[in-house]
Structures are given as C-alpha cells and as structure tokens.
C-alpha cells in the first residue's frame, strides 16, 4: 500500500504541480475537486496507473470521485489488482 501510495503521489507531483507552486500533496489532498487535476489532464494519470500496475481501469470506474485523492486512487488500483489475480 505504501509503495503504491508513494509512486502515485510522486507521479502526481511530477505530472501536475506547476513549477513555483509550493502546494503539498498528501494521501488525502483533493486532486480533482481542488482543480489540480481535471478531466482533460486526468488521462495521463490513468495511462500511468494502467501501465505501471498492468491493469485496465474501465471508463465507468475512472470517475472524478475515484481519482480525487491519492488514497482513493490506491484503493482503485488495488481493487483491480485483486480482480486480475482472481481471474487467473
């Protein structure tokens, strides 16, 4: 859990925080509802998660609510990892 959380947080900082913006991103920082990530830019985060964790997140699950904090994103990733393990 911690490893995924760190990787996701690092990616979000690298991918979304503008240079000179000193905001802190924690596991519970709102991402979508704060405007840091929007539906237009969210697609790269989705692609990162699918590639990094070898999962497929269907559009219906890639909702703004599910992507609103690092904590929720990690939970989403883990739920799909479980599904894929179970389906083998």
């Amino acid at each position: 859990m911690d490893e995924i959380s760190t990787a996701v947080r690092d990616y979000i900082i690298r991918e979304y925080v503008q240079e000179g913006d000193d905001r802190e991103v924690t596991d519970t920082t709102p991402l979508i509802s704060s405007g840091l990530v929007d539906s237009f830019s969210m697609v790269s985060l989705l692609r990162f998660l699918e590639k990094e964790y070898a999962i497929h997140i269907p559009d219906a699950d890639a909702t703004p609510e599910a992507f609103d904090t690092v904590e929720r994103i990690v939970a989403l990733v883990r739920s799909f990892q479980k599904v894929e393990v179970g389906s083998v």
Binding site: E15, Y16, Q18, E19, G35, D38, F40, S41, V43, S44
Partner: protein, 415 residues
Amino acid sequence: MSFTDAVRNSYQADIEGIKSTGLFKQERYIHSPQSSDIEVEFPIGSALRKCINICSNNYLGLSSHPAVIAAAHAGLDARGYGMSSVRFICGTQDIHRELEKRLTEFLGSEDTLLFPSCMDANAGFFEACLNEQDVMIADRLVHASIVDGMRLSKAVQDTYKHSDMGHLEEKLREHQDKRFRLVITDGVFSMDGDTAKLADVVALAEKYNAMVFVDDSHATGFIGRSGRGTHEHCGVFGKIDVITTTLGKALGGASGGCVSGRRELVEMCRQRARPYLFSNAVAPVIVAGTLKVLDLISATTERRDKLEWNARYWRGLLKEAGFDLREGDSPIVPVMLYDAKLAQDFARDLFNEGVYAVGFFFPVVPKGQARIRTQLSAAHEKHHLDTAIEAFKKVGKKHEILGLGKKELVAKFAA
C-alpha cells in the same frame, strides 16, 4: 414524451443548483454598437447606463469602424444576405475563396478554410486529420473548444503543464512510437494573457518530429510587429503547421473562424471536418467586412501600435494603484482577486461606477484564481483608461485590497 411537471422540476432543480453555487450567468443588454463607450441595460428593465467597456475582444476597435460597416453594406448589396447552403453544395461565393486566400497570405500559411466560428474549426480539425495511430499533446490551458475537439478525435490524448517545455519534451519522447505527433497550444492564453513559448515549441517539434497547432484567436491582427500573430512575435512565422483563428475578435468581431496551414491538412478539413460540412457558409456580409478589415490592418500598423500603447499604459496604471496583476505583455490584463465572491462583487461595484468588466472564477479559471479580466482595445482613448482606473481605485479601496499581494489577498478572503 411530453415535457411533464416532473421533467420541468428536474431542470428547475438543476438551474437552482447553478444559482446556489454562484455560477449562474446573466446577459446584459447593450443598446449601442460595440465600442469603448456602450449603453447597458442591467438589471433587465432598468434605465440604460453609460459605461466604459473594458472586457470585449474588440482589440483593434474595428467592430463598428465606418469603413468596415460600409464594406459590409456593399457586400450585402452585391452578394445578398444569406447563402441558404453549406459550402460544398451551393454556399461558396467568389468572396469566400478570396477571403481564404487573403487570410493565407496574412497568416503566412499554405491554404485556409473558413468555418462558422473558431470553436467549429477547433471542433472539426482533430477528428478530420488524426486517427488512433496519432497523439495530440496539448498545453493544459488551451481553450475549451480545443478540449472538445480533441475529445471527438480517435487519436491518443495527452497534455503538458502550462508552458513547461521540459514537460512537453518528456511527452514528445514518450510518444515516439506514434505515427504523427501534434503539439497543441494557444498563441495567447485567453484567461492569463500570457504568450506561448512558440520558438521553443517549434524547436522541440523539429527535434522530435512533431507538427504544431496554434489557436491564435487572441493574437491574430495585433500580436507581432505587423500583427500577423504569435508566430510573428516569436520569430517562427511560416513554421506553424496549423493555425486556427477567429474573425470574431480583432478582425471585425462579427463571427466566423478558420483553419489555416499545410495544404493537405486544410484539404482534409474540407473533405472531413463535420462543422464545415454540416453548417452554413459564413454570411456574405461578414466576408465582405472582413476583407475590408484585412485591407485596413495590412495598410498600416497604427491600430495595433495604439493597442500596444494602451495595454502598457493600463498595466502601469493598475500596478501603480496597487493591484495584483498576471505578468504579460498582451492586451489581456487580469486583475487577480483569487476569491470568487470578491470577483463578482468587484465587477458589480465597477459597473455601478460606470466600468463594464467581468469577474471570472471556477470553472472558467482554476479554483482560487478568480479575477477581473480586463481587455484593451485600440478604440480606447487615454481618457477612457484614466476614468476607468479611478473606478478601479475606488472599488479597490472599498474592498481594502490595494497594495495586497497574492498571499495577503488569499488570507484576507479565506474566512
């Protein structure tokens, strides 16, 4: 299905929801031609108020220019009112093609195709010219119409941090496996008024074998030494693969837009862009007026020079008064307030002082970035700006914000 009470109630609840979040938009009725001095009815039913307009896209002051109006009248007489057709059936007149050629020459491209608006040009281009083997890499602050257009395309979507060339380079490297790469940016960004780093974008595009797309709606006619646009300003004239722009701002401000660029890309739009294929030709009267606009701005740079002076003067006045501004050198000068309610109150108070400006806040700009966007025009005389700044100062004093920077403003209105 009929429009039952239940359906009506559902929509009414949605509308109330928009109102309760402070996002309800209301039109103000202007009873005069578009200009620096306008007469406004607001609230609806109230007496007309004379205002200085400092929020229009009438950058060159040509919206109501006598020569443009006369040319439009002549066009109306010579070519009629409407075409009653899309372009490819029986909607193309000689003057449509003449305007496309004139725009091609002005923008330094290979060919041009008119659209009903630049919104339509952006909505149509990506789907017509790219497929699932390609990638579109857009600056995160591009105009909403580009976002919509990209969503209609099957090409892979990606974005880069606003004007961050390091991030763009990472993305270009990441997508080397795609057939075509297209870097997408505004020339001048409409909300912040800053200019794209087009020379760097072009250099990266050359290095990583990508095409460049620029929406120059807030630049065509006045940015660059002779007003050709951001590509002229940045020294990359003739190197942009696709320019979309509007006739609805500096170029007379009526309506209409275009895709201008590489011949084959323009031809693909002519064959496949749905907003071009399925909507009416631009009205002859607008075509005739825009041809006159191009005559005027090709003959002299007087108007864009005056606009440049006005923008610099206005920016100086606001700074001296103690307002927090977004840096930039375009005629878009955002006065940063950060708080949505303050932006609304500030705009209302300005209106009561005879200055028409509008507050912008989320979702039009990011959360916590509310502002009054002021826009200069060559139609502004010095006295307009001297009068407007007094109103800004008065309202600024009322809200006790003069001299405050971002941190102080955010702290003051955080409660």
